[in-house]
Symmetry: C2
Subunit: 351 residues, 2 copies
Amino acid sequence: MDIREIARRAKVSTATVSRAINRVPTVNPLLAKRVWSVIEELGYYPNTQARALVSGRSRIFGLIVSEITNPFFPEIVQVFETIAVQHRYEILLTSTGNDPQRMESSVRRMIERRVEGVAIMTFGMEEVLLEDLKLRKVPLVFVDVGPSRPRVSNIRIDYLNGIRQAVQHLAALRHEKIAFITGPLRLKSAVARQQAFLRSMQEIGLEPDPALIVEGDHTMEGGMAAFTRLLAGPIRPTAVLCSNDMTAIGVMRESHDAGISIPRDLSVVGFDDIRLAQFMLPPLTSVQMSQSELARLAFHALLAEVERETPAPNGTEYVLKTSLVLRESTSLISGTSKPEEKRLGSPSNRR
Amino acid sequence: MDIREIARRAKVSTATVSRAINRVPTVNPLLAKRVWSVIEELGYYPNTQARALVSGRSRIFGLIVSEITNPFFPEIVQVFETIAVQHRYEILLTSTGNDPQRMESSVRRMIERRVEGVAIMTFGMEEVLLEDLKLRKVPLVFVDVGPSRPRVSNIRIDYLNGIRQAVQHLAALRHEKIAFITGPLRLKSAVARQQAFLRSMQEIGLEPDPALIVEGDHTMEGGMAAFTRLLAGPIRPTAVLCSNDMTAIGVMRESHDAGISIPRDLSVVGFDDIRLAQFMLPPLTSVQMSQSELARLAFHALLAEVERETPAPNGTEYVLKTSLVLRESTSLISGTSKPEEKRLGSPSNRR
DNA sequence: AAATTCCAAGATAACGTTTCCATGCTAAAA
DNA sequence: TTTTAGCATGGAAACGTTATCTTGGAATTT
């Protein structure tokens, strides 16, 4: 069943049917009603690929994340998809698993489907592979690491604010031997987090000890392994700041196995504030980086670019704030006080 | 840039270019090479929508899940997508949030994109809304609840095996006051789990007490609330079996707040065995229902149906087993023994 | 050597829409 | 009343492929 069938039955031309479907205002209301009733009656749905072919607009956005099984991402996918649907867009999702091969195949598939834009949520990996997209002037939005180019937007994350709050919070609890477990250092965002940590420490006169900085990989297993290495090192930290929440969860798991009690013997702070953080035992203090806000920014960056006729020469920049959310995984050094959950740097409370 | 451009430059017809791209074996290798080198040189990618339009095959499968932010689903999405890509399929993902409205709009969008099949992973909700798809003879695959129809496959889950193991495990640890927190009872799968529990109890001569059966909603918050209700009830359970892992995590969180130690004061068993389960404190004993296997079954069910020319009159049935994985959230009643992690009912170990 | 078969390559019709352009009717202007 | 303008509708080209049908040259058979 196609548009011609509808046209025949409604005794109008296909052009009119098309106009009725697309709610072109000039079409006679009487005709439109006739068309619509035939459409309803037959249960006709327009063929998107034909539409896309002739109109040159696929109404598809690509969304590339590094690992959908990492709880950080599903929320992003959820929000991104919801907004997309509201704007009559579809999304093509790829979880690259940080594999350049998959990234490449993903880009290829997206180009073949003629996506109108792509949001890249890999936090600083292999932008080289996106050459093909840039070449075709497909609007892109990056987090942290995008180049300055027309049609390429960037969401800059203000890591410093939240991490500074975390470091100062720990310092206020008398911690000085503060360890930092990084993410995989090939990720630009992981490096940025580490640097924010170093700077925050120096700001308050604490010299970060290289022995207390170990590399993780943003997974729970990585957190466990990194913490094990930390325990085997020369200095025993009293607090650990982690590059993301999964790492922190790994640390909590490992310290449980090692008989180290949190927060009594060790304070732990995560980063991202995934939903799960508040369900940890004890609930995890974490630096919030709103996933839904990130998704919203990304979508609207793409949409704006699609609708803009003359692109800005250097794309647009967006900024996402971070801020500490206190829960129960930190305490006074060798003490037992448990601060109530509340967020710094923002008037509203969570939950 | 289109196929004609390639044809012109390679000095062949568009038909030959098309044949070369699709690796039709009869084309002269010399010509094919000429075509391919032009394609490489220009960085040409075929337009999928044009292909789909004329061939009548979109190479898209729909995937409907109930809640992507529920950690149970990302793994499914991951595996499903990976296999799909290997078979040159794309996936259209919808997370309905159990909202019939979103389900309906999702179905509509999928039909408009002319999906070749849809996997419905909502575990028993609102199949009525899929009428449109059935009408169009789109292959479907359900979990638990699909009707017997041509082109509709079903994955039946053998809940009884795993739940029986869980109940018997608890009984072996001398538990008799075993509570069960159900899922939302409008989900057929939640009802099935509950029934498996009741049956497993009766099998070993334990009469399940209605006061120990409370309804949850498969979320952490629901688990917390349900457990609170349980504590307020007339009988204090010594063990809790949960309809899914999220519920169990909620129970663990709530019992932590209530000063109840797991597994010393309370044994907890989850269901699904999501990856997170092993990172809980203590690691959660759970009934495994392999998410990757489920995804694999679903994909291949669709693929088989697409490639089948004459559909079976009642679709095909697949079965997915469940089995208990022991960790550290259960122990002898009022005892402290911690069994090592190992899985029953399967020779291989996990991790 | 002529007739027949075979098969690779080209020409072109489809696929289901949108969009451009032509058309003819109604309403406004002369 | 006649001419012009305006605008809703219809006709048909276009989008970029695949698939069908045709063609012509080489290979095989007689």
